[in-house]
Amino acid sequence: MSARLAYETASVGYPGVTVIREASLAVASGEIVGLIGPNGAGKSTLLRAVTGTATVSAGRIALLGEPLDTLGSRQRARVVGVVPQSVSAAFSFNALEFVLMGRHPHLGRLQHVESADIALAEEVMERTDTLRLAAEPVDTLSGGDLQRLALAQALAQEPAVLLLDEATSHLDLNHRLQVLDLVRELADGGLAVLAVFHDLDLAARFSDRLGVVSDGALGPIGSPRDVLTAPLLAQVFRVRAVVGTDAVTGAVTVTPVLREEAVTGTQRGKVLVVGGMGSAAPLLRRLHLAGYEVSAAALNRGDVDQAVAEALGMAHVALPAFGEVDEEAENAVVRMAEDADAVVVCEVPFGRANLGNLRALAGAAARTVLVGEFGPERDFSGGAAGALVDQLRAVGAVSVADTETALREIARIT
């Protein structure tokens, strides 16, 4: 595999400051490599080093196998197109003239744009959905339109390598997907793409490989699934997150649950939460933020509540997907309930599989809070669950209407 763009232990930065040390990365024809990382980590600096705005202080960067410093500005611009974070348009060129500026590296000193250049510009404008703006002065256009025109301008360079620096940040949902779908299509046609992403879900969805930039270095590069893990997100972004799979696209999704800094230092009581099917997730988060020591009862793997409990590092009994609360699990929940200052049963239906969670609470009924009505629509156990709930109520369990009142009740009990 011959890389179109290669960082070979390149240290990049600005005069007197090294921002990223010894980055190694190769981007080949046909692939999109995404860069993610916290603000100010140096993602953009890595890209800027290619166009000469940032400097390479050690190692080297090669374009199509040629060291960068052997290429002149025009030569380089025939190979690399850039779509910047934001585009300014202080002077009123019209959109077509603006896109035609991308032809500069291909035109000789005395040459002016010809019909072939205009045809190419119109084609890239068509693909970026900007052709209808051709006669509009660019200084009257919106940020989103300008961003797509900047992409058209970069494509007019007929580049072999495309660099995107958070290029979709000013776009609405539709145009964001449109632009990234186009980039994907261009990559499938052979373009090598290195893109800085702000949005982790988009990064995961559109990148073949992802690299993490943090603490002055470019970390190991791998598939989105290998790179985007909860521990990495906690370490790099200082965010506890649930890493899941998008139901529709199959891409990795990242749902931030809370910031590391948001957890209060004050230690409050221990709370056991019985949930499942997402009924407990908001409460788990709220209790964790409020400083309670939270544990969760038995939860199935693949369940949202289980993912949240795991992301927040809460003790819980993890069952296999679709597995039942067996005797061993039930005993574990009994011990957790004994240990807890308060127990909350969320608005989850009960059936044969999770009845054990309810049975295990018998000894802790006096400090149990039941969220929501418990009617037949929540009972899939042929009445067994209803009977257990009634027993709990009989020996002191309190019923509350919703999460808010549950939180107040928990504060009272603990």
Binding site: R48, R74, A77, M101, H104, H112, I118, A135, Q153
Partner: protein, 340 residues
């Protein structure tokens, strides 16, 4: 490729050239003694063919013609320099006078003048060289000063320009007081005047303008790209650092040409490109040549006004341009603030 609503390049240039010719005819024709266009053409014809001169020919050929030509050349120099600095700083308020370059060139020229006071023959080489050096040093100093706080923003650029301009004018006055005997002529020159115009001056300025205009005319695409910002221009293939140095040098050459023959004339470099841009848009392929011709027109008209409005008293032409350009600059400032 021009937008459909904008006039075509060749048309713009042709119309401006015709206008310039007419204005120059008026410039030669009006004065203490008015001369008709036919007489002017005949006098020029006689001068070219070497025929014996008629009675009024000396006024036309030796006084008015070089003066009008010089006014046109100076106007073209100043307007072209304005275009270049406006592209360089991405700012329509940039102008050699406001940036302090005229003052720098003035000081350079005055020093050169006083040093060579005895050797007139040297002046044509030494004065422009002094002015060029003064202009280059000034713009480098102003840019350094303006970017002290990091980025080069408009406000600091204008402030630095004004501050340096004052300091340099003071230094110039100091030099003039020191060499008292040459003061009167220098003061008049400093205010911006074309009274001393003669053919040797015209021949000196012409190649400077030609060079100063030819170089950027080969780089109009780069000038357009600079308007997108230095970083974007670099991404699209401009060697930005080299191009900036080239623009600074070429602009300084144009300013030096104008200042060494006519002293400090402000606002032509600001007004002309702005008016031209309003009509034809920002494309330097048209903007640069059109502004050069436009500057020539403005300057010939300003000089005509300077000579005729209070005749027989002659106002320094720099005062005329400042009277018109000052309010124009204020209008620009107000309009820009309204946009934000």
């Amino acid at each position: 490729m021009a937008a459909p609503t904008r006039p075509r390049r060749a048309t713009v240039i042709a119309v401006l050239f015709v206008a310039l010719a007419l204005v120059m005819l008026a410039g030669v024709g009006f004065g203490a003694v008015s001369v008709g266009p036919a007489d002017i053409v005949r006098a020029i014809g006689r001068a070219i063919t070497g025929e014996a001169r008629a009675a009024g020919d000396a006024v036309i050929v030796d006084i008015r013609l070089p003066r009008v030509f010089l006014a046109a050349l100076v106007g073209a120099c100043l307007a072209s320099a304005g275009v270049l600095y406006q592209a360089l700083f991405r700012n329509p308020l940039a102008d050699p006078y406001i940036l302090g370059m005229s003052a720098g060139a003035g000081l350079g020229a005055v020093i050169a003048l006083t040093l060579t006071a005895s050797a007139t023959a040297l002046r044509f080489g030494v004065v422009p060289a002094g002015a060029f050096l003064g202009a280059v040093l000034t713009i480098v100093l102003v840019v350094r000063l303006a970017s002290l706080r990091g980025t080069l923003d408009v406000t600091s650029l204008l402030l630095a320009g004004v501050a340096i301009s004052y300091a340099l004018s003071a230094l110039t006055s100091f030099v003039m007081v020191f060499f008292r005997e040459s003061m009167t002529s220098v003061v008049f020159w400093m205010m911006g005047g074309l009274t001393a115009a003669s053919w040797p001056y015209v021949f000196m300025v012409t190649p400077m303008l030609a060079l100063g205009l030819a170089v950027p005319l080969f780089a109009t695409r780069e000038l357009n790209l600079m308007l997108l910002g230095e970083e974007r221009a670099g991404e699209l293939g401009v060697d930005v650092e080299r191009f900036k140095r080239l623009l600074l040098a070429v602009g300084a050459l144009l300013v030096a040409a104008a200042v060494s023959v006519s002293g400090l004339i402000g606002f032509v470099g600001l007004m002309t490109p702005h008016m031209v841009r309003l009509v034809i848009g920002p494309d330097h392929r048209v903007l640069l040549p059109a502004s050069a011709i436009g500057g020539a027109i403005v300057m010939v008209l300003a000089d005509l006004a300077a000579r005729t409005v209070l005749a027989p008293v002659e106002i320094p032409v720099g005062i005329v341009t400042a009277l018109v350009g000052g309010p124009f600059f204020v209008w620009l400032l107000v309009r820009r603030n309204g946009h934000r």
